[in-house]
């Protein structure tokens, strides 16, 4: 443990406040579902869902960097953990979601309706 042992209780409560506020906003939006967000699509997903994912990643950043104290680690450790995860997840999502959409098109447009 090379880093200095200063207490950062103030920061912990601040991050808790941020995480709570974001969760409240998410629930509020999820119940209201404002039409201008819910009915408008961007890249085959509605704007509301994009907002949800953006807020989720925002929360994830605070959990990893503040609570797991990633901001206090060396930059080599930060990069070794964060970049492989981000890259592999984006890659996997791109492949699986594209494929899922393709199969949806097959069910919709060809004679196969239901096979499993």
């Amino acid at each position: 443990m090379s880093h200095e042992h200063v207490s950062n209780i103030g920061r912990i409560w601040k991050v808790f406040g941020i995480l709570s506020a974001v969760t409240i906003v998410e629930v509020y939006l999820g119940i209201l579902k404002p039409d201008f967000l819910f009915m408008n699509d961007f890249l085959s997903m509605n704007l509301l869902n994009w907002i949800f994912y953006a807020l989720t990643i925002f929360k994830a950043y605070y959990i990893v960097y503040a609570f797991m104290h990633m901001e206090g680690e060396k930059s080599s450790l930060r990069s070794a953990v964060v970049f492989p995860v981000i890259f592999l997840i984006l890659y996997l999502l791109f492949i699986l979601l594209t494929e899922g959409d393709y199969i949806y098109e097959v069910f919709k447009n060809s004679t196969i309706k239901w096979n499993f």
Partner: protein, 325 residues
């Protein structure tokens, strides 16, 4: 344990041990690598959920119709409030955990004990809440009909409000006894029978002309399609099976895969929370008997803290994917 550690990276001692690559001790580094691999496992599951959802994008169940329960509020539709509460409980237990780590840095044993204890309590409440959520999901509320083609039919009144099978199903003088092991000729049994037979639901539907059928298909207004009375009767004539609640084969909410993914992903996450609680309890007792006081380092608390925050992190994503989107 830190007594033997030298971080000076002198050339001749590179392979001699005691080095700390990336400035983190062995245990902490390995915990980070475990977290990376576990994060990839979870993202694999969630991406598979996304795959199946994109595949059945037009018929996927609407989450705010599925999770509507809140304790002590029967018959009130309260979408999301309960999971929001669960999310708060988990975030708060994450806060107490990081406070325990912070107190550990300052070698304040009593504070570590208190915060660890609060973390364990928070974890237990969360697991309990998840069990309650599962109970509601498995029990179901309205019931539905599966057709021969495998699609699901739900019942609504004229205003589009859901109607439970119990509210209209007729009682026919038919006896259908459940086959159990004790009555079978050989090792034979069958899954438990639904409360109503297909014929009873059909007869009840005929006797209630105000009822309509709702299919799984999502319209342009992002609502489920409601059929006309004639179409409803036609679709119901192809009824094949009465579905009540959810299991791994079929569920009354819609796509069969929906329940499978719900059970698997929230179950796997709940298992992580449960093992996190167990590990926290072990470390809690180690703190109590003064193990880390003797080591002059509370790094063990920091390591389980990493795992505990990771469980919270996964829940943030599960919450979004299952309940919000």
């Amino acid at each position: 344990m830190e007594a033997t550690v030298t971080t000076a990276n002198s050339e001749e001692k590179t392979w001699g041990g005691g080095n700390e690559p990336m400035g983190a001790s062995y245990g902490k580094l390995m915990m980070w690598f475990f977290i990376v691999s576990d994060a990839l496992t979870f993202s694999g599951f969630l991406a598979a959920y996304g795959f199946s959802r994109f595949k059945f994008i037009e018929t996927w169940p609407l989450a705010d119709e599925v999770f509507t329960h809140f304790p002590f509020m029967h018959g009130v539709s309260a979408p999301m409030y309960y999971v929001a509460l669960m999310t708060f409980i988990l975030i708060f237990s994450s806060v107490t955990m990081v406070l325990a780590v912070d107190a550990g840095h300052q070698m304040k044993k009593n504070k570590v004990v208190i915060y660890m204890f609060l973390t364990i309590i928070g974890g237990l409440i969360f697991v309990g809440s998840q069990a309650w959520e599962w109970k509601n999901f498995i029990k179901g509320e309205y019931g539905a009909i599966e057709t021969k083609g495998g699609s699901l039919l739900q019942f609504v009144d004229k205003d589009g409000n859901r109607v439970a099978l119990a509210e209209f199903a007729a009682t026919l003088p038919e006896e259908r006894e459940q086959l159990t092991r004790s009555k079978g000729k050989w090792f034979m049994d069958e899954p438990s029978l639904p409360s109503y037979s297909v014929a009873e639901v059909q007869a009840g539907f005929k006797a209630h002309p105000e009822l309509l059928i709702r299919t799984e298909v999502i319209t342009k207004e992002k609502k489920k399609t409601i059929l006309s009375r004639e179409e409803s009767e036609l679709r119901l004539s192809q009824a094949h099976y009465v579905v009540e609640g959810a299991n791994l084969k079929r569920n009354e909410y819609g796509s069969k895969l929906f329940a499978d993914f719900f059970f698997f992903i929230t179950g796997f996450h709940g298992f992580h929370v449960f093992s996190g609680v167990i590990i926290n309890i072990i470390i809690f007792f180690n703190v109590l008997i003064g193990t880390y006081e003797k080591r002059k380092s509370y790094e063990m608390v920091e390591k389980v803290g990493l795992y505990w925050h990771f469980v919270d992190l996964v829940w943030v994503f599960v919450f979004t994917v299952f309940y919000l989107v």
